[in-house]
């Protein structure tokens, strides 16, 4: 057995004989398993709930009796974002962004303008997920188990004892690295095994799962190297512990908490109230698409009459009110898209800034990587919103088109006793409406989204390893 193996084995023996270390390790493994199970149960519950609500909403829409199509536009429907299997590992921003939308005419509802970045890591302390355990708790445990691996040898005087047996500095550091690496493996493995077991479909999601696995392996390896670095640099274990706790506090708690605030200050985002007021103001300029004689829509009316070569809307071969509703929807959607686009652009700029700050904190990098691969990040949320809006617009315009084609203008403006009956169209029109189907990104796209985070962590690990080789050369020289 080589000296490196012997040193690693002895370090593990030391930890195994330390009752506090064993209890802490067992507690962390239990915590991880609890996180896996609770996250899985929570995710499954949410997924089933959303699916059930989606079915109820679709059934309610399709069960509507004969109605005027525009009544259906205002009746609207609910859609829910289906939760991907990987959300059981890292639910990301899902809990903070909203996941259901009420789709109706003239409006873009729900979380389109929500402040996604408010959901910082500090807020997420309440969420027990495998990702949280690995990102926040596991490094802390590794610090408590490993701060003395080298500093303790220096402090006790056993560093010289080892060297006197012919152990080189490199063998010593590699042995300690291997021991702490095995501990990191014990810490990380339950989460990963639970993750694979819970997802239970590695075939389809193998790539993003591999990206997540690689990301967390790099993250924990980085902490192992950082712990060795501090422990090798400090002369006393206490100094190493204090330094490592400071690094943990800054990298895991402070920077991830401050980064969104910095991004929020650098790229201001209008809040919901400000946005609603601005939209209401702009909507007034667009006119009322329910009123065929609205002066703001006079130009549209003129263009329609010209196109059909008639002088009165009553002479059109289609229902002008239906055409007007389509035009109104086009205009209001354009307006909403503009505001949503501005909000998305601001949030994207904020996210870029946070990612840039992430170069300073491996925790931001792993968090971004983890959420991106699990499709629970801001990009995934935006994907849902955009698909929902596309669906909403198509649904509303389809109903407006039905009004234009299937309801006569005369009936549409009539107010006699039987008019309401004549304005209605058959219920089977709603029954043939297509359902909302969220198109999830491909596995390769999810894995690719994790690449920047993997690169940052790889860079961190390379620099830390380089510094460790330097500290290794100086080990014991300052006694």
């Amino acid at each position: 057995m080589s000296a490196t193996h012997l040193i690693a084995r002895d370090e593990l023996r030391l930890m195994a004989r330390n009752r506090v270390a064993v209890i802490a390790l067992v507690l962390l493994v239990l915590l991880t398993l609890a996180a896996v199970l609770s996250s899985w149960s929570h995710q499954r519950g949410i997924a089933e709930l959303r699916m059930r609500h989606q079915q109820v909403a679709a059934a309610a829409f399709k069960a509507q009796p004969d109605r005027h199509p525009h009544r259906m536009v205002h009746y609207g429907t609910f859609i829910y974002r289906p939760l991907g299997a990987l959300a059981a590992f890292d639910p990301g921003v899902d809990a903070f962004t909203g996941n259901s939308m009420f789709l109706e005419g003239h409006r873009q509802n729900s979380a389109n303008f929500g402040d996604v970045r408010q959901s910082s890591l500090l807020v997420r302390f309440g969420q027990l997920t495998p990702a949280f355990v690995l990102q926040v708790v596991a490094p802390l445990l590794l610090i408590f188990l490993g701060f003395g691996v080298l500093a303790g040898e220096t402090e006790r005087g056993t560093l010289r004892l080892l060297m006197l047996q012919g152990v080189s500095r490199g063998q010593l550091v590699r042995g300690k690295l291997a021991a702490l690496g095995i501990v990191a493996l014990i810490v990380g493995l339950p989460a990963m095994v639970g993750f694979v077991a819970v997802v239970a479909q590695p075939g389809t999601l193998a790539l993003p799962m591999a990206a997540i696995g690689l990301g967390y392996a790099l993250y924990l390896a980085l902490w192992v190297v950082l712990i060795l670095l501090a422990s090798g640099f400090a002369r006393r274990g206490r100094d190493a512990l204090l330094a490592l706790l400071a690094i943990w506090t800054v990298a895991v708690v402070l920077v991830p908490r401050i980064a969104p605030d910095i991004a929020g200050a650098a790229v201001p985002l209008q809040n919901r109230l400000q946005t609603d007021v601005a939209i209401a103001r702009d909507l007034r300029q667009l006119g009322d698409s329910h009123n065929p004689d609205d002066p703001h829509l006079a130009a549209f009316k003129q263009s329609v009459l010209q196109r059909y070569g008639v002088t009165r809307v009553e002479d059109l071969p289609v229902n002008y009110k239906g055409l007007l509703a389509m035009e109104g929807e086009r205009l209001t959607s354009g307006l909403f898209d503009r505001y949503a686009g501005a909000s998305f652009a601001a949030q994207t700029a904020q996210n870029r800034l946070v990612d840039a700050i992430g170069v300073l904190s491996p925790t931001i990098a792993i968090r971004a990587l983890s959420m991106a691969a699990a499709d629970t990040d801001f990009a995934g949320h935006r994907r849902f919103l955009e698909q929902a809006e596309t669906y909403r617009y198509a649904l509303v315009q389809r109903l407006n088109r039905m009004e234009a084609k299937n309801v006569s203008y005369a009936d549409d403006i009539a107010e006699d006793a039987g008019a309401d009956r004549r304005k209605r169209i058959a219920a089977d029109n709603w029954q043939h409406m297509p359902d909302f189907a969220f198109i999830a990104p491909s596995a390769s796209a999810l894995a690719a989204a994790a690449l920047p985070g993997i690169s940052i962590l790889g860079l961190w690990l390379a620099v830390a390893t380089l510094l460790l080789t330097r500290v290794t050369r100086l080990l014991g020289a300052r006694q």
Partner: protein, 246 residues
């Protein structure tokens, strides 16, 4: 490669300073195989620094130093593989038992021994058998010293360096230790011990060298059945320490 003339320890005109403070100033000393040399001197005479230089923990500014022909300043790992060292303040692993400590350290030195050999060495070092499998956390200084002595003796190397080896031992254990040391010498080991204990040195050493201000000022070799003139040595030692202190 330093010229050692076949001596496991060969030091020639060694000079070493910590900043402006000169610790070794032209020290020359050889320790042949199968011999015990005691290096005596007052505090700050350079005794521990001499051992540190042999172990490769400090590098000399001038002169030559060799352990079995290897300069520890340039290849400390190779030199250390030929040395067993017993420090004054024994550092061992408290989470391991006496046997486990010996087993671990011998395995690291690639000189693994079976349990029987280890326990025999522990017994020879004076450690009672009920303590063999106890963790060192509850050991006294003397008990730790005995474990370290056993490990040093089990290292079958040509050079044994001892730093105040009997400082934690009672008179009976000191006598046992000296007897052990003679056995080690007789198997061909070159032993260099630095000590304040003149009587113990005179009892076991073949040669006593007095170190003052970083150089050997007197070198006495045992002769005949009387070995050393203790009275003369004592007087010399007192003068040396007194001069140094002044």
């Amino acid at each position: 490669m330093p010229d050692n003339n076949g001596n496991p320890i060969a030091i020639h005109e060694l000079a070493l300073a910590y900043g402006n403070h000169r610790v070794l100033d032209g020290l020359s000393l050889t320790v042949p195989a199968s011999s015990i040399t005691a290096l005596l001197g007052g505090n700050g005479a350079g005794k521990s620094t001499t051992l540190s230089a042999l172990l490769g923990f400090v590098r000399a500014d001038a002169g030559q130093i060799a352990v079995c022909g290897i300069d520890p300043g340039t290849d400390a790992d190779a030199a250390r593989r030929r040395i067993a060292y017993l420090p004054e303040n024994v550092a061992l692993y408290e989470h391991l038992s006496a046997v486990e400590n010996a087993d671990y350290l011998l395995a690291l030195a690639d000189q693994r021994q079976d349990r029987g050999t280890i326990t025999a060495a522990l017994a020879a070092a004076g450690l009672q058998n009920r303590a063999w499998d106890q963790r060192l956390g509850g050991f006294s200084k003397g008990m730790r010293q005995k474990v370290a002595i056993a490990v040093a003796l089990l290292r079958e190397v040509p050079v044994l360096l001892l730093d105040e080896p009997t400082s934690g031992l009672d008179p009976r254990a000191t006598a046992d230790f000296n007897a052990l040391l003679l056995k080690v010498r007789d198997r061909g080991t070159a032993v260099l011990m630095v000590t304040h204990d003149l009587l113990s040195a005179a009892d076991v050493a073949d040669r006593i060298a007095f170190l003052e201000q970083g150089r050997i000022v007197e070198d006495v070799t045992a002769t005949g059945s009387e070995r050393f003139d203790i009275r003369a040595l004592h007087a010399r030692f007192q003068v040396g320490v007194g001069t140094r202190a002044a």
